[in-house]
């Protein structure tokens, strides 16, 4: 397939799945409301300290991490949903690369997470009076998009890795808050126990968030972005490999439909 056709595949699939997600109360409205409860609780804790810098720190992290809530709960169940619709076999049989088909669905899910970012930023601004004024707005936006993209890649890996797990929504839910903690969105990574820090460094959103904070403070973010790019590429490659391996196994053992 030519690059143009691949791009068209991603765009059309993204648009169609975005439309479908909007039809579900759980997949659209809840993706905004659910993380907002946790973000508000965290912001109220930080507000109790009276430290405006700490509140801004938490507001920035809370806004970005809400995307992960949407991705972890929704992306993990992508293959189950296709299975329930009876379209998983069609996706596998189609000449389009399977990984690309799934990635475009993950991108649609990630887009719904974008609403939560906007909602949390507005919430922080009007309820908590947090004015986010990044020193370097453009690099800040770039780092923000990079972090959100890394959530999409993690969601992609989760979606394909859990193809044989019937109750995958539970796994996605269980991974939601650990990432809030491990990637330094609400708590500096330096405060985490020493055994947890190496795990944080292995997760691309950690570097994305560090780049976001660096751009907000007017410091150089390129080293963090470099580490983000490397780790994200590694996860993407792993996801493509897992997708191909798991798919081959499911086709060989006739377990694609799990019935």
């Amino acid at each position: 397939m030519s690059a143009g056709r691949l791009l068209r595949l991603v765009a059309v699939s993204w648009y169609l799945h975005l439309k479908m997600l909007h039809r579900s109360m759980f997949d659209s409205v809840m993706q905004v409301v659910w993380p907002l409860f946790f973000a508000t609780t965290a912001l109220l804790v930080y507000r109790a300290t009276g430290d405006r810098d700490a509140l801004s720190y938490a507001a920035t992290g809370a806004a970005v991490v809400t995307v992960w809530s949407a991705v972890s709960s929704n992306a993990s169940g992508i293959l189950q949903r296709e299975r329930a619709f009876g379209t998983l076999e069609l996706l596998v049989a189609a000449p389009a690369p399977f990984s690309l088909s799934i990635m475009s669905i993950v991108l649609a899910v990630t887009t719904t997470g974008g609403y939560a970012v906007a909602a949390t930023l507005l919430w922080s601004r009007f309820v908590f009076g947090v004015h986010l004024a990044p020193a370097w707005p453009l690099p800040f936006a770039l780092a923000l998009v990079a972090t959100v993209f890394s959530f999409g890649v993690l969601g992609f890996l989760l979606a394909v890795a859990a193809v044989r797990y019937r109750a995958v929504f539970a796994l996605g839910g269980a991974l939601e808050l650990p990432l809030w903690l491990a990637c330094g969105f609400l708590v500096p990574v330096a405060l985490l126990p020493s055994w947890l820090r190496p795990l944080s460094w292995l997760l691309p959103p950690t570097w994305g968030m560090q780049a976001v904070r660096a751009a907000a403070a007017g410091q150089s973010l390129w080293a963090d972005l470099g580490l983000w790019a490397g780790s994200t590429a590694a996860y993407a490659a792993a996801a493509v490999w897992v997708a191909a391996t798991v798919l081959r196994s499911a086709r060989r053992h006739a377990t694609l439909s799990l019935t």
């Binding site: 609780t41 109220l44 269980a174 808050l177």
Partner: protein, 261 residues
């Protein structure tokens, strides 16, 4: 005797059939990993903000998380009949309604209690806090009363579920409201007045206060007021739930809306 059989055996059977979170593939991530993650997240947020102790967050979140199995479990065992298209059969049977309803809530309460106690013990161990059996016993009593309160609210949401299609959304929103209002993570003086006032009239706030008090070494005598308030709230919500179930059942029968079609 028949009512007792319906209450115990019927309740347990319904719970196992309709609350699919009992499967270990869902139970472990949702009811063991998630509460621990919530406890650790807010304990570290507390450390980072420099307010309150680890015990404050461990007790608050361990008790608060019981809301999820209680709200969702109660709603599932009632609304699940609708999804399975068996609600009409159950309602057509001569079984006493009260035994049917209360029987479904007993396993839910036991589950909520187990989840909370697990969170309390595992969270304490992970954060290096001491676990004293005497304190744990008193805290378990406070958790049991909180679980009773949450299950009462769960009955109200189950009744509403007779008219809604997606009960998971309602249970999730209620869980979030309890997270905010109960003071599980936010010290009461730091809660906006209206949120604290709402928390006083919802389950958990009094139960969490009682559990924190006994965790700090206080005796049962000092938390009698909070436990009584929590139990009264549970009773009130439970009675409201049973009445709403009766009312909405009658309306669903007259509107022909018992099953989801």
């Amino acid at each position: 005797m028949n009512s007792l059989r319906i209450l115990v055996i019927g309740g347990l059977t319904t719970y196992r059939a309709l609350f699919n979170w009992v499967s270990p593939w869902i139970l472990v991530p949702s009811l063991l990993v998630m509460p621990l993650a919530q406890i650790l997240l807010f304990s570290y947020i507390g450390r980072s903000a420099g307010i309150e102790s680890d015990t404050f967050f461990v007790v608050g979140n361990a008790v608060q998380y019981s809301a999820l199995p209680c709200l969702l479990g109660t709603a599932s065992t009632v609304v699940g009949e609708r999804l399975q298209r068996t609600l009409g059969i159950v309602l057509a049977s001569p079984a006493p309604r009260l035994a049917l309803v209360i029987g479904r809530t007993l396993p839910v309460m036991l589950n909520g209690l187990a989840v909370s106690v697990f969170g309390l013990v595992a969270g304490s161990v992970l954060l290096g806090l001491p676990v004293r059996p005497a304190t744990l016993g008193l805290a378990t009593l406070a958790i049991a009363v909180s679980v009773f309160g949450c299950t009462g609210l769960g009955l109200v949401s189950a009744a509403v579920g007779l008219r809604l299609r997606d009960i998971a959304v309602l249970s999730t929103i209620l869980f979030g409201i309890l997270l905010l209002c109960s003071g599980a993570d936010i010290p009461r003086p730091a809660l906006p007045g209206w949120l604290a006032a709402a928390g006083d009239w919802l389950p958990l706030a009094h139960g969490i206060a009682a559990a924190r008090s006994v965790a700090a070494g206080g005796g049962i005598g000092g938390v009698g007021g909070d436990l009584a308030a929590e139990a009264l709230l549970g009773l009130g919500y439970g009675m409201a739930g049973v009445l709403m179930l009766r009312l909405l059942e009658r309306r669903s029968r007259s509107a022909g809306a018992l099953d989801l079609t």
